[in-house]
Amino acid sequence: MLLIKCPYCEEERPELEFRNAGEAHLVRNSSIIEQSDEDFASYLYFRQNPKGLQFERWRHIHGCGRFFNAVRDSVSDKFLTVYKAGEPKPDVDALLSANALQESAPIKKRAPRTKKAEL
């Protein structure tokens, strides 16, 4: 079973207590009325879904109930880090090099797709 660290419970818990809640750091435009349909559709529907490291939201639904963010490798399922909701994106390169020092087989960084989804 996958063990996931909850930043609020401050310890690793079995995956059965958690629920994935999709891509993290999606920001809703403050004035969607001025936004084009394409831009709003991009915010609402289209996700990066990269092969490799991705920022995602999780909820410790059968634990403390909190939402939090995580950086996870979508290939190996390995969590690079977790952080509380509202906290800024962590420096992934710094974490990877710290990780490389600790482990002999570090996680390879794959650049997430930055191009906006084509409609």
């Binding site: 079973m1 609020y8 419970c9 401050e10 310890e11 818990r13 079995p14 059965l16 207590e17 059968h62 634990g63 403390c64 109930g65 909190r66």
Partner: protein, 184 residues
């Protein structure tokens, strides 16, 4: 070190009967329960009204007499007291912003006690219940089989399982079944 427990051979007609198993699964008495939600700044006033210090560390509890407060989340507690408790009236006097919902009848308490109680819980709960990870007095919301529970360790070999009333038949049956597997 690997722990080896001796398997006790049971007569097929005795299996499942009270007094045969090392772990007993019994119903806890009626209780007054509150689901308490509040921000950090309300904790001192709520603690004063409750007469105990609300725990603010993950997985911890605080008790005074029959009244106990279980940390569920950073802004959430489960308060359990005896059936005749003045809990609701006590919290009614608190002036700071908080939410206190009477869930006395929403939950059912089940007591699991005896040698091997942790193994009985682990029959359906994936948490680490070693004394180092889940010491006496620890409590946490978690899962048991396919339902959600609140688990509270009362002593080394005694746990209280709190579940929603519509899940209680499942939880009770599950724990009794698990106790038959863990006859040590």
């Amino acid at each position: 070190m690997v722990e080896v427990s001796q398997v006790k051979r049971l007569h097929p007609l005795q299996v499942g009967h009270a007094g045969i198993l090392s772990v007993s699964v019994t119903l806890a008495g009626n209780a007054t329960r509150i689901s308490l939600r509040a921000r950090e700044d309300a904790v001192p006033a709520l603690s004063k009204a409750l007469g105990l210090t609300l725990p603010t560390r993950p997985k911890t509890t605080a008790s005074k007499g029959d009244r106990s407060a279980l940390w569920i989340g950073p802004d959430e507690w489960l308060i359990i007291d005896n059936a005749e408790s003045s809990l609701i009236a006590d919290l009614g006097k608190v002036k700071v912003l908080h939410s206190a919902v009477d869930i006395s009848h929403r939950n059912v308490g089940i007591l699991v006690s005896g040698k091997g109680a942790a193994a009985v819980i682990n029959g359906g709960c994936p948490q680490d219940l070693s004394l180092a990870a889940f010491p006496v007095g620890a409590a946490s919301r978690t899962v048991l089989g396919k339902i959600e529970i609140v688990l509270w360790r009362l002593s080394e070999n005694e746990f209280r399982v709190e579940c929603w009333r519509s899940f209680s038949a499942y939880a009770y049956g599950f724990l009794q079944e698990s106790a038959r597997d863990v006859a040590v």
